[in-house]
């Protein structure tokens, strides 16, 4: 299911262990470290070794902690705000400004400048989230459920981990399920393929209730709930607003 991009010479477990342990220790040369980080970006299996060695070494000595100066966060915020402003102008002016877009932008400015300048950009925050993992590999993708402003408007989105892919996996018939946290009852939420489109999948009121009351979400290979589980993840509530 998971396509390995790591060159064959790095498939030797002893070499992998050695490289990762030295990476965690910090004794690799810069060139070797960059090479390893490139490999990690291609194949997340390296990270599973990293986490093992991190847990081995991080307990060697108690971590110390101290308050950094307040300007650290101040500078971070300022940099992010500056970057957002740059993106804003890139979006509006882009590379088509000379003719039509210039006219549109001026009109837009005249009619909505006060709103644009006074309203903070809103970032939709999911109400529920599940980090989906396969039996072999963790962290494939994230499912996020958003509460709608009225029944039937709630939705679910899928966000892929950039370094995962599903080549070789047959997802055509795969189905998404919610498991009730109290009764263990399973509710079918529909085809997995419906989550992969550009638009979020709208949830019926019943489906939304099922997500809300679920302990975990999982994806089976077909419509039979006893069929092979391809992915599953604990469903975590992010907001405690009344639903």
């Amino acid at each position: 299911m998971h396509r390995r991009l790591t060159p064959v010479r790095y498939s030797n477990p002893t070499i992998r262990e050695h490289l990762v342990s030295q990476y965690l220790l910090g004794t690799l040369s810069l060139k070797t470290r960059r090479r390893l980080e490139f490999l990690m970006a291609q194949d997340i299996a390296w990270y599973e070794l990293v986490i093992q060695w991190h847990s081995h070494l991080s307990g060697l000595e108690p971590m110390i902690s101290d308050n950094p100066p307040s300007w650290v966060w101040g500078n971070i915020e300022a940099t992010l705000s500056k970057q957002e402003k740059v993106h804003f102008w890139h979006r509006w002016w882009g590379n088509k400004w000379p003719k039509f877009s210039l006219t549109c932008a001026v009109l837009l400015f005249l009619f909505s400048s006060s709103m644009l300048l006074m309203t903070e950009p809103k970032i939709a925050t999911p109400s529920y989230i599940a980090v989906m993992s396969s039996p072999e590999k963790s962290d494939y993708f994230v499912l996020m459920a958003y509460k709608g402003d009225k029944p039937g408007k709630s939705s679910m989105r899928l966000k892929w981990n950039a370094r995962r892919n599903l080549s070789g996996a047959n997802m055509e018939t795969a189905m998404l399920w919610a498991k009730d946290k109290d009764t263990g009852q399973l509710t079918l939420l529909g085809r997995f393929a419906n989550l992969q489109g550009p638009q979020p999948k709208l949830l019926t009121p019943n489906e939304w209730r099922s997500v809300k009351n679920s302990s975990e979400l999982f994806i089976t290979v077909n419509k039979n709930h006893d069929s092979t589980v391809l992915f599953k993840g604990i469903c975590i509530e992010l907001s405690s607003s009344p639903t």
Binding site: E17, S21, Q22, Y23, L24, L25, G26, T27, L30, R33, A41, I44, Y47, V50, I51, H54, S55, H56, L57, S58, G59, L60, E61, P62, M63, I64, S65, D66, N67, P68, P69, V72, W73, N75, I76, T79, L80, I123, T125, P126, I129, V131, S133, S138, D139, V142, M144, K159, N161, A162, R163, K181, K212, N213, I234, C235, I236, E237, L238, S240
Partner: protein, 180 residues
């Protein structure tokens, strides 16, 4: 639905939200992790101001390249990102205090354990104690203080081959003991 989340699960959720460019989640991540990561940096660069600058650089990297970070292992990923920044700084600019004593620079800093459980910590301590003094010292200098092979050679006054061998064998023995 009320789910009691562990710190690791909280970080996973925050990290997933940061991948969606959620600034509030990023601020929460900073609030929850900055003290430990600052401590980690101080141990390597041995200077609070430099550590603070690197901390700032590190969090900006977290924001801008979060897409590359694994959701499941955010803490390990962030620790290594900060460690690499600090090690690169030391390699490039040298150490301000080559032979500092921790007590001089870290008088009021509090300590905390990161290892998952008391059993894990006991096992790790037992396994690490079973290594020879030289191997323990070489591994600690590299991992805790970010010493390069050459710096360890200078500090412990042994040939490079010996130092490399201590570290390699020490890590192998540590893993064999933990996995046994």
């Amino acid at each position: 639905m009320v789910i009691v989340v562990t710190t690791n699960e909280e970080l996973q959720v925050l990290f997933a939200r940061i991948k969606l460019r959620d600034r509030k989640a990023f601020e929460m991540l900073y609030r929850q992790t900055n003290r430990k990561l600052y401590g980690l940096l101080i141990k390597i660069v041995a200077d609070r101001n430099i550590a603070a600058e690197l901390l700032q650089e590190g969090y900006l990297k977290v924001w801008f390249i979060a897409e590359q970070g694994p959701v499941t292992y955010p803490w390990a990923w962030m620790c290594q990102l900060m460690r690499n920044l600090a090690i690169d700084h030391v390699r490039q600019h040298g150490r301000l205090h080559p032979h500092f004593e921790e007590a001089d620079i870290l008088p009021e800093i509090q300590e905390s354990n990161e290892t998952d459980t008391a059993d894990d910590l006991a096992l790790l301590t037992r396994c690490f104690s079973s290594l020879t003094q030289e191997k323990r010292q070489a591994i600690k200098l590299a991992y805790i203080h970010g010493y390069s092979h050459e710096e360890i050679v200078e500090r412990l006054s042994h040939p490079l081959g010996t130092i490399k061998s201590w570290i390699r064998r020490g890590l192998q023995e540590l893993k064999q003991c933990i996995d046994a």
